[in-house]
């Protein structure tokens, strides 16, 4: 079954997704993040620009990510990587979400995951 998840579903998990990607890939820029998520989920999760950048902004403000800038020709590219607090936060977020999944499974009475 091929489906693209609704933006409401993605919204609450976007921070976790971004943090986890940064934990696995030293440093990434915005476009790269959207492409990697597409790749990993086989296009099932498509992060919109409108959701990604506000989230990156908030992560920066919270001190969870640090930024390095590099010039690509005339334009500037911002590379995001996890700060030490970001690393701990990622673990928290991931285990919180794992727990959430279990609770939802129970709550929605999901016996077997769709293949």
């Amino acid at each position: 079954m091929h489906m693209i998840y609704s933006s409401e579903l993605i919204k609450g998990t976007l921070k976790t997704i971004v943090l986890k990607l940064l934990a696995d890939n030293k440093r990434m820029y915005g476009y790269e993040i959207t492409q990697r998520v597409k790749e990993l989920t086989m296009d099932k999760i498509q992060i919109t620009e409108g959701a990604l950048y506000p989230t990156l902004h908030a992560l920066e403000e919270d001190g969870l990510v640090t930024i390095e800038t590099e010039y690509i020709g005339k334009r500037m590219r911002k590379y995001y990587s996890l700060s030490p607090t970001g690393k701990t936060k990622t673990q928290e977020k991931v285990s919180e979400f794992a727990d959430f999944i279990n609770t939802m499974k129970f709550l929605l009475d999901i016996k077997t995951l769709p293949a």
């Binding site: 919109t48 620009e49 409108g50 950048y53 908030a58 403000e61």
Partner: protein
């Protein structure tokens, strides 16, 4: 793969900015993102402008600026929740401290003032400003913000005024009066007339206005009226004048009885010193209060009354007044020792609970303390004279 020229990059950046994205870091992010998509997906000989227009449209629902709005919202609401949390915590802590302070105060236990000071400070300097900030954020209207600001300011001044009053610190009355003026003359009219016009808020506005007037009225009902203050001051001044007369008469009678001779030289020297110091200290207070060194039966007409201000105004630590007070205390201790050694019937002069030890004495009380010390010295003098 398409290769973007510098002009095209400038074109995109200008377009992003023209679409209302003003945050520089967001502009740069979006620019890089669009450029990546174009470079990856447009053929080398493709139509740049048409492709760009199509791409940028996929970034938003109705306009590009919504990304910036969302970014700002995320930041504001995060602070909003943190502030709300601090508000609730500071509110709970301040009420808890205040309750503890009041219990301690009534039980006369140590630490009461600590709890009162921290409790009221938490309430007026952390809780109330946070309430203001959060309410101001919720209301976009400038008039609403002004009303909330004025109300908060009045609340802060009112509670700090009461704290200062309880702690006997200066400027307490000024703060309370300013708070009442702000509340009744500025806040209430704006609040009432803007709320009454709104059908939804009409009842709420009337009820709140009645409550505000009632609270201010109840507070003012507790305050002594100017006429009441005058009667109080007249009473206190006339009592002081009478006490002074009685003391003078007693001293003259004693002088007649002893005719200058003394039963005990040491006691007499100390008694004289005590009298002189008491006179000096009374003079100092009188001078400060009325501008005159001694009392006058015309006090009522001359409007030179004693206030019920704090006596320490004139006897503060480090001043000449305080030095004299300490000297008087030392002399009294010596006198009491001599007096008890000599005759058990002699009265000891009081130190405990008098102005000698208690710094928070009102002026009339302090003056009476000095007079009573002098009276006791005089009575002891007569006792000694009778022994002769």
């Amino acid at each position: 793969m398409y290769c973007l020229s510098e002009q095209q990059i400038d074109y995109i950046l200008n377009d992003i900015s023209a679409r209302g994205v003003k945050l520089e870091s967001l502009q740069l992010n979006l620019l890089d993102h669009v450029c990546c998509i174009i470079e990856q997906n447009l053929e080398a000989d493709g139509d740049f402008e048409a492709f760009y227009e199509r791409t940028i449209k996929t970034f938003y629902k109705s306009e590009l600026r919504e990304i910036e709005v969302e970014a700002i919202n995320l930041l504001t609401y995060k602070n909003y929740y943190v502030m709300k949390k601090i508000m609730i915590i500071s509110g709970s802590i301040s009420t808890l401290l205040l309750c503890l302070g009041i219990v301690f105060k009534f039980e006369h236990m140590a630490g009461a003032s600590f709890f009162l000071v921290t409790g009221i400070s938490f309430f007026s300097l952390i809780f109330l400003p946070l309430v203001f900030t959060l309410k101001a954020k919720e209301n976009q209207n400038v008039k609403d913000k002004l009303v909330i600001g004025l109300g908060t300011l009045a609340g802060i001044l009112f509670s700090m005024g009461i704290l200062f009053k309880v702690m006997h610190w200066p400027l307490a009355n000024v703060m309370a009066v300013v708070a009442l003026v702000i509340m009744l003359i500025l806040f209430l009219p704006i609040y009432f007339f803007s709320g009454i016009r709104n059908a939804e808020r009409k009842i709420n506005t009337i009820v709140s206005s009645v409550l505000i007037i009632a609270v201010c009225g109840l507070f003012l009902a507790l305050v002594r009226s100017p006429a009441g203050t005058r009667i109080q001051q007249l009473t206190e001044y006339s009592q002081f004048v009478r006490n002074q007369q009685i003391l003078k008469t007693e001293q003259i009678l004693l002088a007649h009885e002893t005719k200058g001779e003394t039963y005990n030289q040491e006691a007499a020297v100390l008694a004289n010193k005590i009298n002189a110091l008491c006179e000096e200290l009374k003079e100092r207070i009188l001078m400060g209060e009325t501008g005159q060194k001694s009392i006058d039966n015309e006090y009522e007409n001359q409007n030179t009354l004693l206030s019920d201000d704090w006596a320490w105004k004139y006897l503060e630590d480090g001043t000449d007044g305080n030095a004299k007070l300490e000297e008087l205390k030392a002399t009294i201790i010596k006198y009491n020792k001599v007096a008890t050694d000599m005759n058990n019937n002699l009265q000891s002069l009081p130190i405990k609970l008098t102005v000698l030890e208690m710094r928070d004495k009102r002026i009339p009380n302090a003056l009476n303390d000095f007079i009573q010390i002098q009276m006791l010295v005089t009575q002891n003098g007569r006792q000694l004279a009778s022994l002769k």
